[in-house]
Symmetry: C2
């Protein structure tokens, strides 16, 4: 059905009411293909009916087969493989964009869809899609969307949270086109602030049938933003009907969704059906029970018992400043030899900030934060006319291979233009939103081939229930030997090619001089840890 | 001369051009005495001619005698005693407000003073003070000003920076009244963004004669903000001519200064004479050579050699999220006895954020960050109609005295509504602006009287060149015993009443069982450190 929709070029109709300086402004609307075209690699393999969707309400959908599913079969929540995401650069192909669905995907029809605007407005209206496209000037700009749970698996490794296992690819960038929410609200005559009838919040409601809300199904996803945000021209909030120049994909809210740049994805309601202007914030179940950052001492039980969900100060809206190492990738091997040690290795990754702030600095440390190397920044985006930045940027830095050989861990941190940077350590919270501590990659010595050594890089986690990652390994180690002190600084020397070992070979390493153990099918050399174990070396040796 | 000025009640003249919803808005201008009156304790001792100002260009001024001078005699830079600042609560009396002067205070006359508005405006103008008061609607609101160097002495203790020694009282709050910059710029017809003549920056120039800029004196203090900031109604930028209902004091910019809420003090030009709209940011010496946060590896030499001052990304504007413990105060003693141990001790302090963000959480830790107690917040301010907060707030938390007895250190961190919090550790930078790591107070056991024990609290530093503070003490210890490993977790047990010890008493503590040393007139018990000294216990014992 999406294929039957013809989107005109962005409308050039007269604008509703302009800012006072608008007549003097440059035409904001630029051809994004011209601006970002040199970096576009949007071609991907065709979507498929996935066997995992059979028997679910989403059986009619087609999806990119490479997406990593985070919550089993249904609902559909996924991220692309991190290397794949990076390969495409600044603009993510829509079929690879991460997805966060709370329930089944609505089967929508462009021609019959409407968005109702009601509540504290003097001229309520029900807009068709054609009206939305035709009657409002189109805004079109690239926006990075980030799930508030991006990187959450790192926190789940330390202590399970109420959220599922996002890796570091819960982030994607598209060029979104739509009508400005501000224009729509002014057209409908949003009421003022005067006492008693203060139009203070703008609520969004989606179309899907959801289990939440304590009822017997039929609840809708909904949330709200403040009036100030909704009307702020600098925030570029829009009702988007095109992604990268095409109609939205079903998973991304076809035919229309909210886009709120600089904000967590959870406020950007998909399959938008209603906009309601109200005096109070949204009373939707998902508005209160998701996307909150509660203090560390609040667990699920306490959150319910003491009504922490309803304390307004713990809502999250703007994204945190964050950065991730994408090169080296997980399990990437760098051979150490006469050739490689004379060259620099280029580390790379992404960074983003919230609220329109620019990333002004990214730094990498090889020594646990004692010293930092300044990275080169690649910021493809042009800021909006209010100076706001809505997209991720990329960083790179050349590191001497010999310095990597001497490092146990590499870590990255970003700074935004308000001088916010990332904390060193993870701060646990129940929902684990906005995880943004330093992204740390372990550097382990390995033996890629006989008579050759190399470095193998290990990310903190792998998404979903995939094994792998130093945090997962440490967690396994804790499970296998519960008394073992956690160490984040001493890497295990583990092989990258498990199949080289038969169990009889492993059995040879059962002494204090060389203690190997097998955990979840991986072989670990624990020799260096024998002295650290509070229960004594024997606690490991009985496993070896 | 200030006394001769009669400020009318805020003007109620028709506004220049209103926001589209303004007709519907509440009257913003409220009587601040009504709003904040219950907390006002603005009475202070009369100002004096200070002997330290004799022979300087400021000899004509009168100042509050309790202010702590940070840069010797001249220019005048000061902060109030921290306890004094806290005593006055939400609104700081103007005579106690911190002062950052770069040179002599201009002797200004209300009736002849003018502010010239020029550059990329279609109607340049030279405004008298009476015109500024009469011809523009007055805005009046409380704003917390913070010197970007607030708490800088903590960083100077670790490694000397290019800045002088601010304690934790480089912060004050006043009710400021003035004309909105936005109104003035629109009245003057600020030009647009179109190519070639883009009016992108608004520069401010002060009146004082300064040594900076490489010339032979006569330079003026100046800086700039972007057009977006200058015109943004939500930012409340004003040309202020009244502080707490009175004309400005000479030290605070009489007769008119810039106020930019949520921004570092360094952009708020005092004794304002010129506003120039330009295509490029200010070329003023002080705009580039101050208020920058450079990466840690950049020292003074490198900054000059590689022109780090001129890289636009390192400018600072918005304040960082910050919090400070003010109760217990430095050297405060809490006796430990049957009475006190059955009661809670109430810790208190202040917190602020930048850019209009609300402080949503303050937490205190007694165990180095393992667990955190949630504090009660007192936020006296009403946000502006855009939801922005411009003022500090206060926090308090009840702590069991027995828990304090078991703690070595208490620390505080705040969170703002964008989920930014403070880093644990200090991150060195050349200017040391925006220091905002956890504020840590050491808890030392002491003997306030014979046969009584107590806890004595020790702040990290004391302002200016005052001795005192655990960071200063550790620095002295390093100087006295250069090889000694720094410890921030193990407090020295030091007496609070040095006069109890004669040198002959100290000499008795020269063994491994009890090693006292004398550094800068203070007696320190180093027994616990003997085993830590990398040069061996003897390195300390030769001093003991």
């Amino acid at each position: 059905m999406a294929a039957s929709v013809q989107l005109d070029e962005p409308a050039r109709t007269p604008r509703v009411e302009e800012e006072e300086e608008a007549s003097d402004d440059e035409e904001e609307h630029e051809e994004w293909r011209e601006l970002y075209g040199s970096q576009l690699q949007l071609e991907v393999e065709p979507p498929l009916h996935d066997a995992r969707d059979e028997g679910t309400a989403d059986a009619w959908t087609e999806r990119n087969p490479s997406l990593i599913r985070l919550t089993g079969k249904h609902p559909f929540n996924c991220e692309p493989p991190l290397a794949r995401l990076m390969h495409h650069g600044f603009i993510t192909p829509a079929p690879l964009h991460y997805v966060r669905n709370h329930g089944p995907v609505p089967r929508a029809d462009w021609s019959s869809w409407t968005v109702e605007v009601s509540g504290l407005v003097s001229r309520p209206v029900r807009l068709t899609m054609d009206e939305l496209v035709r009657d409002f000037p189109a805004a079109e700009l690239p926006v990075t969307l980030v799930c508030a749970g991006n990187r959450r698996k790192e926190q789940n490794m330390v202590r399970q949270t109420a959220g599922f296992n996002w890796g570091a690819a819960g982030v994607s960038t598209s060029v979104w086109r739509g009508a400005r929410l501000r224009d729509v609200l002014r057209r409908c005559g949003i009421m003022g602030l005067r006492k008693g009838r203060g139009a203070l919040h703008v609520c969004f409601v989606g179309a899907e049938d959801l289990p939440g809300g304590g009822g017997g199904g039929g609840a809708k996803y909904g949330t709200s933003v403040t009036r100030e945000w909704a009307l702020d021209p600098s925030r570029d909030i829009m009702l988007a009907y095109a992604q990268n120049g095409e109609p939205l994909l079903p998973d991304h809210g076809f035919p229309v969704r909210v886009i709120i740049p600089g904000c967590i994805g959870g406020r950007m309601v998909k399959w938008l059906t209603r906009i309601v202007v109200t005096a109070a914030e949204s009373d939707n179940y998902y508005h209160f029970k998701d996307n909150r950052v509660l203090p560390s001492h609040v667990d699920a039980e306490l959150a319910d018992a003491q009504a922490w969900w309803y304390k307004p100060e713990y809502i999250i809206n703007e994204l945190n400043t964050n950065s991730v190492i994408t090169t080296p990738g997980h399990d990437e091997i760098l051979p150490i030899n006469a050739f490689t040690t004379q060259r620099a290795y280029t580390m790379k990754g992404y960074a983003y900030a919230g609220g329109g702030k620019k990333i002004i600095r990214v730094e990498v440390t090889l020594d646990g934060g004692e010293t930092w190397m300044l990275c080169t920044l690649d910021i493809p985006e042009k800021p909006n006319k209010y100076g706001r930045y809505w997209c991720w940027c990329f960083w790179s830095v050349d590191v001497e291979v010999l310095d990597l050989l001497g490092a146990k861990e590499v870590a990255v941190r970003a700074w935004d233009q308000a001088q916010n940077t990332q904390p060193e350590k993870l701060i646990w919270n129940l929902m684990v939103c906005t995880l943004h501590c330093w992204f740390k990659v372990k550097v382990n010595v390995c033996r890629p081939h006989k008579r050759e050594i190399g470095l193998v890089f290990e990310h903190p986690t792998q998404p979903a229930n995939q094994t792998g990652g130093w945090m997962a390994r440490q967690k396994h180690m804790e499970t296998a030997a519960p008394g073992l002190k956690r160490s984040t600084s001493t890497p295990f020397i583990h092989t990258t090619d498990d199949k080289q070992f038969t169990m009889s070979e492993v059995r040879k390493h059962g002494s204090k001089d060389s203690a190997w153990i097998v955990v979840h099918g991986h072989v670990y050399d624990c020799t260096a840890f024998l002295k650290d174990h509070p229960g004594g070396a024997d606690s490991i040796l009985i496993n070896a």
